[in-house]
Amino acid sequence: MTAPEPPSELEPAGDIPEELTITLDERRVSFVLDEELYPRDAIYGAAYLFVDRAWIFLTRPADRQVEVRLKPKDVDRVERGTLEALAGEFANELLNQVLRQRVGASTRALREYTLARALFTDDTQSSIDALLAELDAEELEEDELEISVPWRTEPTSADPEGTGG
């Protein structure tokens, strides 16, 4: 029997609780996050989006835990409701970040392939691919000389003549 693999940096290991316990004082709000539920990059990502509104302090109170303390920059308007709302928005953004990371990790190979095809495949290759696709689609025995195989592709901004060259 092998030991279970440690949780991935990108994937939360368990169900994320719907409630987050927060601590309030007069000027700041804080909460502790479990890195096994909220990957560190998700915490960083959420924190980054709050840099215009709050001073953000991250500490490590225990192994695989991150404490987030938010202190609003607009000190004249700090009240309990404001702090709770700030914490609530942060919690929502954390969930968004977790989702972004899961989608990003799941689609990474697909996206790299698509972008490589988009940016590093020349038009000649594209036209060959298009031609091969057409050959696959057509029944060649009906056109033994392949007279109907088009050599022109649809015009694009990169190839306004549609020469495919």
Binding site: D15, I16, E18, E19, L20, T21, I22, T23, L24, D25, Y44, G45, Y48, L49, F50, V51, D52, R53, E84, A87, G88, A91, N92, L94, L95, Q97, V98, L99, R100, R102, V103, G104, A105, S106, T107, L110, R111, Y113, T114, L115, R117, A118, L119, T121, S126, D129, A133, T156, S157, A158
Partner: protein, 504 residues
């Protein structure tokens, strides 16, 4: 004190999804992808989309599949081709070449970004020899389209250099075969009939600054000293002259007319409606409501003329709604920045507007040539140099090779600092397919090329504009607004290969 906040996690089956970014716009969820395509979903549909429980006969399923948001049935090659088309500007090389014919200017605008010099400072004129080197250098660009944009100072004060560059570049182009455009960004207060007729006869596009009604324009754009007059009256006079002559010469006034740019100061904000009315009266069909840049005099006069990004955005939204209402009533008028974003949102192409693209066009889509032949990645680099910081000087037209310039470490650094796919806050932002960051703005604002996205005025401005457009599209039940927006992105033949002047 301890309490709890509630946030509901979203169930997701990532294996069923293509790559997408998203945001909540009102009560809808907006999905976007690398090809710039978008779809709105209701919150329940978004949850069904994420958890792969969207009904097979859901009315949006086929669209989501075609756009590449769903993994099943994804046409990878088709998506790659759409991305390729959207990023067609990559590798084209600089097409916009800003030429500073002189630093001399007869005006001293409160927000001047252009580092003006007094009229006596003839040593700040570009020489004909330097002008020739500029043309020889610029025409090495691999770009098939090339726009020489004359700026200053007031560029028409050194009119001989404008004439020389237009004539020499056309002569040289007999062998190059590029699509050449020439445009001049002028305050029109040093114009005379001789210059005007030459510009008209030689198809040089004319763009001026018009900041609104007379008192507002003249307050923003000071004209003092010997020969000074009423700047607004001169602008009115020459707009009328050019537009009349275009008609007399049989040119289509929809295509040939003086364009105008507006720079917004704190005095403009409460008077935006008057500005729109003036543009309508003058038949100027594109109003470009531009915020101040953190360059030049504007940094010194910010206390008087500046405002918060929030104040600008609120005014912008009011103006946008008014312009939309005018369109619904049959007027043909557009807002310039909205049109740039809409072209990215609603069409398969990118307008290649050098200031709003990824990476930014500085050095890769445009170059700027100071009066002494020093080369900068953009006119902003030249403005920063005029403020005493030559960090962005990357060479000289008589001493640098084209390869050295476009591969300069500074150009590379700017590209890295503006590639949205790799920037925190941008890489997963729904607006990434449509947005662009300005590293030189960041440098002026925070002292480094990257800046912190949420703290940069450009991020706040672009997000406000994008949200304003998408929230209105989300509420566009009968498609009438989209119809208007689609008219805004139709390119006119005259401007097909022309960038509107972007800086000044």
């Amino acid at each position: 004190m301890r309490t709890t906040v509630t946030a509901r996690a979203l169930p997701v089956v990532p294996e069923a999804l293509g790559f997408f970014r998203w945001a909540r716009i009102g009560d809808r969820v907006l999905l976007t992808n690398d090809a710039g395509e978008f779809s709105f979903l209701s919150e329940p549909d978004f949850r069904a989309f994420l958890s792969d429980t969207l009904s097979p006969d859901h009315p949006q399923r086929a669209t989501l599949q075609r756009q590449g948001f769903l993994r099943r049935g994804l046409d990878v090659n088709g998506l790659a081709q759409r991305i390729r088309r959207k990023r067609a500007f990559l590798g084209n090389g600089p097409h916009l070449h800003a030429v500073i014919t002189t630093l001399r200017c007869n005006q001293s605008c409160r927000y001047c970004h252009a580092s003006r010099a007094d009229l006596s400072r003839i040593e700040t004129d570009m020489s004909l020899a330097t002008a020739k080197s500029v043309v020889d250098f610029a025409m090495q660009t691999p770009s098939r389209h090339l726009n020489f944009e004359f700026q200053g100072g007031e560029p028409t004060i050194n009119f001989d250099v404008i004439k020389f560059i237009v004539e020499y570049s056309r002569e040289k182009n007999r062998h190059e075969g590029k699509e050449l455009v020439h445009s001049v960004v002028t305050n029109l207060t040093a114009m005379d009939e001789g210059k005007a007729e030459w510009l008209i006869a030689n198809d040089v596009l004319v763009c001026t600054s018009l900041d609104g009604p007379e008192d507002l324009h003249n307050w923003n754009r000071l004209w003092a000293g010997r020969g000074a007059g009423n700047a607004w009256s001169e602008v009115m006079k020459w707009i009328a002259y050019f537009n009349r002559r275009y008609v007399e010469l049989g040119r289509d006034p929809d295509l040939w007319h003086v364009d105008a740019l507006m720079t917004v100061t704190s005095k403009t904000l409460p008077r935006w409606r008057e500005c729109v009315e003036l543009y309508l009266q003058l038949g100027i069909r594109s109003i470009h409501f531009r915020p101040l840049n953190p360059f030049g005099f504007a940094r010194k006069t910010w206390q008087t003329i500046g405002y918060t990004p929030q104040a600008f955005s609120a005014t912008y939204e009011a103006l946008l709604d008014h312009v939309i209402e005018l369109n619904l009533a049959g007027e043909q008028i557009i807002e310039g920045t909205a049109a740039t974003f809409l072209k990215k949102i609603l069409t398969p192409d990118d307008p290649n507007f050098v200031d709003i693209r990824s990476p930014v066009g500085s050095g890769t889509g445009q170059l700027a040539y100071a009066h002494d032949g020093t080369i900068y990645p953009s006119d902003e680099g030249r403005m920063i140099a005029a403020m005493g910081d030559d960090l962005f000087a990357i060479g000289h037209v008589e001493r640098s090779s084209f390869e050295e310039i476009v591969q300069h470490p500074t150009v590379r650094a700017i590209a890295v600092a503006s590639l949205l796919d790799s920037l925190p806050g941008c890489s997963d932002c729904y607006n990434a397919p449509y947005c662009g960051v300005r590293p030189l703005h960041n440098y002026m604002h925070s002292g480094d090329l990257f800046g912190q996205r949420p703290n940069t005025p450009k991020c706040q401005e672009h997000m406000a504009i994008s949200r304003a457009l998408f929230s209105r599209l989300a509420a566009d039940a009968d498609g009438s607004l989209e119809g208007i927006f689609r008219r805004w992105v139709i390119e006119r033949p005259r401007s097909r290969d022309t960038q509107p002047p972007q800086t000044r």
